[in-house]
Symmetry: C2
């Protein structure tokens, strides 16, 4: 490489340098290419050697940075998952309608997000189902520690608005949400991405809409407050509901 000096100056301009400037930049490039390879070929079929070749570097370099293929994938997974929006990133006008409106917003949009950018989604699928139990344990630790979708904050949001049952542990609601949303999304999305990977749900687009509404109504009954219309007028956090999502979903 000839332009090293220029290179680090350029890096400086992006403010990417910490103590190990070139290291960080290179790691990032590796993760980027690796993400494509994993997404396109799956975990096992993706070869570290190919990634190195695509980057024009030696295979050993990758191992020096990430220790192992698992380690590399873990970094890829974290980046992919962090690139997803959090629940409360929904537009303010949607948030103001309420908890279940936010859910609906994301369920409907997931498909569009997927089409724009299927790679991170595929990575998360691999991390959830297609690698190895040891790695999955790390992944779950990460998900619990970082809560990248902001599920906990989202549930608190719903609780503050009295839209969720307050007679259960927060942990329980969070788990239920995480589980069902994840599976439902997988079922919606993999129909096209990986046909046959999950119990098929609504192959037809218009059916898909109906499924989402059904699913939301189920969730609302499951974890929603008993009477979502009568929001107790708490002086401090009085957010008058714009109605309950399930009622709207029907109409």
């Amino acid at each position: 490489m000839t332009g090293n000096g220029a290179n680090s100056i350029e890096l400086l301009r992006f403010g990417q340098m910490s103590s190990r400037p070139r290291s960080a930049a290179k790691r990032s490039r590796i993760i980027d290419i690796a993400m494509h390879h994993f997404a396109e070929n799956g975990y096992h079929a993706a070869r570290v050697g190919d990634m190195a070749a695509a980057l024009g570097i030696a295979k050993g370099s990758i191992f020096q940075h990430f220790g192992s293929k698992d380690g590399l994938f873990f970094e890829v997974y974290k980046r992919a998952v962090r690139s997803f929006p959090k629940y409360l990133d929904a537009p303010a006008e949607v948030r103001s309608v309420g908890f279940f409106q936010v859910l609906q917003y994301w369920l409907v949009r997931t498909e569009h997000l997927l089409r724009e950018d299927w790679i991170p989604y595929r990575i998360s699928l691999l991390g959830n189902y297609g690698t190895d139990l040891a790695l999955k344990r790390e992944i779950n630790r990460f998900l619990m520690a970082e809560d990248p979708y902001g599920t906990v904050a989202f549930v608190r949001f719903g609780l503050e608005r009295s839209e969720l049952r307050d007679d259960m542990d927060v942990e329980m609601i969070v788990s239920i949400l995480d589980w069902t949303i994840e599976r439902f999304q997988d079922a919606l999305l993999t129909a096209e991405l990986d046909p046959g990977l999950f119990r098929r749900q609504g192959e037809l687009p218009e059916k898909k809409e109906a499924r989402i509404q059904q699913f939301l109504s189920i969730l609302q009954r499951a974890i929603g407050a008993a009477d979502p219309v009568s929001v107790r007028p708490h002086p401090a956090l009085r957010k008058v509901s714009g109605g309950n999502a399930a009622a709207k979903a029907r109409g």
Copy 2:
């Protein structure tokens, strides 16, 4: 091996012989050992060579029978999953109480079943989360085709007794049940078998009971009929519109 003749005679007594008697018996023995190896070491760490050694046969034999490690694992998985009880295998007196009683019965007992025999459970965990997307696709095809837990029949049972909402597709209820039960069981069980693999739920035994009750109540609200007390023995059992479930949910 010396007792081949005696061996096949013994097999005859069990009526296990089809056109390929020794083949079937050997396949079975291989699957048995393989199940132990997979369960104890995980999918990747389990070595086909070790299994062959443990069986006192050549590695090539195993490949001749199953084609590949994936193929072998698939057979192991099928056997493991088929060894689990179906929902409606619950005792008649439990069944007669109703759908959710059956669910509770199994949730409470799962732990005991696990302790008696953790190996098939571990295999199903591997199949669900720890192998490879291509294999997982096969597994899901199998689960859909065979419905080894009898979820569909179980849901029909609940519908016939008017204990489940009849305003949703059966498919949807089945999916919800499959997803949540699987994840809930995983969360309950892996706390000890694979610490850190799932969001922890009830580390303490007495908490575990409470979790099960909470979980059941959630499920009941989600997919249960609006008024579970009034079980109407409808002769024609179809389309008894139960009114608005959410409104009555608080009882």
